[in-house]
């Protein structure tokens, strides 16, 4: 209002202020709103077009993840972790299995570790593509969304070749991965990587310096470094404020210590910085994928599962030929592994930030506690802080770049 009247001289503006009675109104957005991808409800208190306050209500997708995990075997929790974040199921698989392996004190074979990194980084690219693509779609730009989704299809094709499924891959096992890398995979991957890079370049050409896109993103949804730390915000949002925290560097797990990659950071912590951080992270992830391929080719074929009998199913020949093998198979299938009593926390860098698992075992085959530290949930909490005083239209890109995923947020 003030902006529209300023140009007409102070007197007129004063008239407007005095005569126009503005009442605050409450707008209900969601839980299923066409301009947000995610099941969440916003109660927005509007002062004209500005957000005076906003109440974020989550929980619409709560399906008792922890309760379910606490009633099955350790293995049976893995498919549930797939369904935390549909964009990057492998990352949750990896996080959970690494945490269980921590309790077991288990080291996985080197090929398994490289394959986990390979699948993780492909997932990360897929996740960032969805975030940036969907953000464009919700800002009314269809074309870049299609570039992003086409590239994500190629990522999912690669994940299908590697894991056997596109979205909920259920790929990682305690002590291993489901399949060894197919022989034809490196060639297929290199071919598709060049296509993905071309699509990313197209995306970049249409979006990154697009006047409308930049205007909608620059200086919107700003959060300070201090507030990020207070709210325990991690991932691209924290990095966009200039903190170079990436758990792949800070607490290197799997083979990340041997991999050459950079951690991009932003300066002001607005939506545009978050976008730039994500775009650069995709390039870095593709670099990591290439290093994984080279390393796996160098290693050649070999075991991708641990030999530890506590978690490993016996080879089929042993099951059919030997009584002990048959008994072991029966116990593995009906009960699953027993994890030593104790507690452990392990966190990985997921596409949204720190994805942690805090596990407690009483020594039996059923977990006592499976806590998932969900980056989506924790990153969403400071959303009112980012939006108070902003225009209602800024809510859309801010929510897009928080990238809240209902499954992971509500569990």
């Amino acid at each position: 209002m003030a902006g529209a009247t300023q140009g007409r001289g102070g007197g007129l503006a004063e008239d407007f202020e005095r005569d126009l009675h503005i009442e605050r109104q409450t707008l209900n957005m969601g839980p299923s709103h066409p301009a947000t991808h995610g099941t969440v409800k916003f109660l927005v208190e509007l002062d004209g077009e500005n957000i005076a306050d906003i109440d974020v209500q989550v929980g619409y997708l709560h399906r008792g993840f922890e309760k379910e995990c606490e009633s099955g075997s350790w293995y049976q929790a893995i498919p549930y972790t797939d369904r935390l974040n549909y964009n990057s199921a492998v990352l949750a698989n990896v996080g959970f299995c690494l945490a269980v392996e921590k309790l077991l004190g288990l080291e996985t074979p080197i090929r398994c570790q490289w394959q986990r990194v390979l699948a993780s980084e492909l997932s990360r690219v897929g996740d960032h593509l969805t975030r940036c693509g969907a953000a464009c779609l919700e800002l009314q730009a269809m074309t870049p969304f299609l570039y992003g989704i086409e590239a994500r299809e190629l990522i999912w094709d690669l994940l299908e070749s590697l894991c056997g499924a596109r979205v909920t891959s259920n790929y990682v096992r305690i002590g291993g991965v489901k399949h060894a890398m197919p022989e034809s995979f490196p060639a297929q991957c290199r071919e598709l990587l060049s296509k993905i890079r071309a699509l990313l370049a197209d995306f970049d050409a249409v979006v990154t310096s697009n006047r409308i896109f930049v205007d909608r993103l620059k200086d919107t949804g700003v959060i300070s470094q201090q507030d990020c730390l207070r709210y325990a915000v991690t991932g691209p949002i924290l990095r966009s404020t200039g903190v170079p925290l990436d758990l792949r560097k800070a607490e290197p797990y799997l083979t990340y210590a041997e991999i050459d990659f950079d951690v991009p950071i932003g300066e002001v912590g607005d939506n545009y910085d978050r976008y730039l951080v994500c775009v650069e992270e995709m390039q870095q992830s593709l670099r990591i994928v290439e290093q994984c391929l080279a390393k796996l080719e160098e290693l050649g074929p070999g075991p991708v599962d641990t030999l530890d009998l506590r978690v490993r199913w016996p080879a089929k020949a042993r099951v059919f030929d030997q009584m002990e093998g048959l008994i072991q198979q029966f116990k593995s299938v009906t009960e699953g592994p027993r994890v030593p009593a104790g507690e452990g926390y392990l966190a990985i860098e997921s596409a949204n930030g720190e994805l942690g698992f805090y596990l407690v075992s009483d020594g039996s085959e059923v977990p006592t506690k499976v806590r998932c530290r969900p980056p989506s949930f924790i990153n969403l909490a400071p959303m009112p802080l980012m939006l108070r005083g902003a225009l209602l239209a800024d809510l859309i890109p801010t929510f897009d770049f928080i990238n809240m995923i209902g499954g992971e947020c509500d569990r």
Binding site: V58, G59, H62, G64, E66, K67, E68, S71, K102, L103, G105, D227, L229, R230, Y231, A232, T234, V243, L245, A250, E251, G342, E343, G344, Y345, A347, E354, G356, Y358, V360, T368, K369, R371, R373, F377, I378, A381, P382, D410, R411
Partner: protein, 165 residues
């Protein structure tokens, strides 16, 4: 969890030195520095972890609870702190009883405690005294009971809206 040793962890050693009465037990198994503290002292402990030079735990990364049904005190509230500046972690635990499941809120010190304490309240029924807005977060207000308690039947159903005919 019977010893009160620092197990070679500088964080535990600082904690034992500064607040010897608050720390009940420590361990550092699997490399995770852990201290069980008196629930009444949780704010003091968190303040030390956040403000003392050399500790600087800027983030309360995670907060959850575990139900040890049959033990007394029954609930264990588990805090994970992370220091970005020093790249170190510490786990602080506090036990509260079933009869009086309450302990002081950390919201005044760590903003991230807001939603996470609400979640623990929602799912375990632990009350955080001093929380500005302690209400359910994942479930709806009409929900009865706290589903992550071990004595809450997994198959129990409480639909907010009944089935349509």
């Amino acid at each position: 969890m019977t010893t009160r040793d620092d197990h070679g962890s500088p964080v535990l050693s600082r904690l034992l030195e500064a607040l010897p009465a608050a720390v009940l037990a420590t361990h550092a198994r699997l490399g995770d520095a852990t201290a069980r503290v008196d629930p009444a002292c949780i704010v003091e402990v968190a303040k030390l972890l956040r403000d003392a030079s050399g500790l600087e735990f800027e983030m309360l990364t995670d907060l959850t609870a575990v139900d040890y049904l049959g033990e007394e005190p029954r609930f264990e509230v588990v805090y994970h702190f992370y220091s970005v500046a020093r790249n170190q972690r510490v786990r602080i635990k506090a036990r509260v009883s079933e009869a009086e499941p309450r302990l002081p809120s950390l919201v005044p010190l760590y903003a991230s405690a807001d939603w996470m304490e609400r979640e623990v309240f929602d799912l375990y029924g632990v009350r955080f005294v001093g929380h500005p807005n302690l209400k359910r977060i994942l479930l709806y207000d009409e929900f009865e009971g706290h589903p992550l308690r071990k004595d809450y039947a997994k198959a129990a159903r409480q639909p907010l809206i009944g089935p349509r005919n």
